[in-house]
Point group: C2
Chain length 335, copies 2
Amino acid sequence: MQNRPGRSPRITINDVSTAAGVSPATVSRVLNGTAKVDSSLVDRVHDAVRKLGYRPNAAAQGLARGEWGTIGVLVPDLANPYFPDVLKAVSSVARAHGRRMMVMESDEDPAVEHDLVEDLMRCCDGVLLCSPRMPRAELAELLSREHPMVLFNRVVPGLTVPSISVDFHGGMTQVCGHLAQLGHRRAAYLSGPSASWANAERIRAFEGARAFGLEVNVIECGAGSQAGYDAVGALLESEVTAILTYNDLVALGALSRLNELGVSVPAQYSVVGFDDISLDRVAHSNLTTVSVPRDELGRRAGEILEQLLVNGYDADPLYLPMALHVRDTSGPPRR
Amino acid sequence: MQNRPGRSPRITINDVSTAAGVSPATVSRVLNGTAKVDSSLVDRVHDAVRKLGYRPNAAAQGLARGEWGTIGVLVPDLANPYFPDVLKAVSSVARAHGRRMMVMESDEDPAVEHDLVEDLMRCCDGVLLCSPRMPRAELAELLSREHPMVLFNRVVPGLTVPSISVDFHGGMTQVCGHLAQLGHRRAAYLSGPSASWANAERIRAFEGARAFGLEVNVIECGAGSQAGYDAVGALLESEVTAILTYNDLVALGALSRLNELGVSVPAQYSVVGFDDISLDRVAHSNLTTVSVPRDELGRRAGEILEQLLVNGYDADPLYLPMALHVRDTSGPPRR
DNA sequence: GGCTCGTGTGAAAGCGGTTTCAGAAGTGAT
DNA sequence: ATCACTTCTGAAACCGCTTTCACACGAGCC
């Protein structure tokens, strides 16, 4: 942008204004349509703009307008198949409102998360914080900055902040209901990251499941297919008849291991995924699972943020429902 | 950022300077370490910064420095599993050099692509253009803007622009060699989008494959697993013994259909993927395929862009090699 | 024909930083 | 004690755009 050596000098609004024989103010008015301008001048400005190939400098605009025209999104892991769909929707909403999308990734590290958010606040009108890992106190501190911010997949009791989440609790409740109805009485849950709110929400559903007559014991596992693969062996000595999982990846890993061990599904064990990461369209695994409306989630999140920027937004945390998909990996318990 | 109603006023460098009893210039010097400042002043500045919670305004810095501290990435489709890994690597490199990453998505639409690039050029130091779909002339026009830009997965003969791609031609050549060596003589290729450079590169390999004694006929198909599923039926009447694909998704779709039809793989047909979208870790499909080094690709792309921004970069298009992974879906041809 | 009023335009003051430039101290040599 | 030279600091210009404010001009009215 600066006249770096060998680079053509930037064309500014002043170049345009002299070329068109008008003041910079008029150029600005024409380009932004903020005031009526004589049509002959309008033409001259447009001609000059075209001839010079002028593009307004976004930083200068941001500075003068007090708005960046940008929203920031922080995700824990870009490579997590969960987020692209969300980002896609958020980006699309943002663009519909004339804003760009800045993306940062914390690499699941709560420590860097804080810095990244601060950085985003320096260059974005609003921030969408996806599944933040940081401790509640830090989060509260960031929220106190009065910078527009929306929380995604984390609800912090006591903090009033716009937030949108998936009703993981409801989703897991559906899973439990489905299994209970099939006749299962004892199940195991291959648990995800223990610090995670999303995991806690799933586990919370098991209390209610007792009412269905289903007892679920929680087993430390992890979030990837390898974790599922590794965890499943230990279960086979127990008397559980169904395996619940933190997400589809874990379930696929578990299925793969069961398959290797010659254990048939769902005859001997039912396996149910949790659709953080829908892969059925490619994996053709026909996994029974519950699905997250990822695009709607992203869209709504984007809209809430936009509304927050324009009018202010003040509503209770929004929970989007999950949908149960019964396919081939769940069935009645073995005798 | 502006004093919007109900929002706390922004803290500027002037607030800090008065609080610390120094000039704004000194605050700037302390914060950027651009000049030596008396240590007592340094402390006072830091205290004031901390007490006030000051954060420099990125737009103002960008304007004054003539650099945004941001790179832009344009991808055709965020939800395409190809890109998250790339974005992840690019973002990581960018951050290592103190830059943020702005992401835009063209939704595979060449028309909007042009506008988005222009927008990116207005707010980013450099732009990484992933698999641009736009016609050559438009691309040339954008490149003539002398704005730092790197091309990803598209090589435009005659245009000198830093670019990095995957050696699709070499990858497909490996596939052909592998099949020829197994004894295959006739194969079909389920072709991807016909306008795509990446697809053309794959097809180009089939000429060389004749030298191995392998004849490949190209069949219009598409890029998704559904396309593969749909396309495979028509092949079974032909005398081909191997099915090559545009990508793994197509291959998985084809496998799924073959499985339904009771056709055994690789006994009756060999199926080979093309690893745009590695899913083996989750799908456990054991597909023979060639892999793209996505993270290295992203990393190198980021580094090239960075180098371009700092020193200028002038090198021939870089092609990263693919690697053949022989697994369970390829074998000798049926008799 | 003079006066008010409404309209379109330009000059200039920001927006919040960085950087140049010149001046004030402080240092060492003569 | 004076002078030349560094070093550090602050004032002010500047980055490129928006927006306020004041002014000039023409229309409409009495």
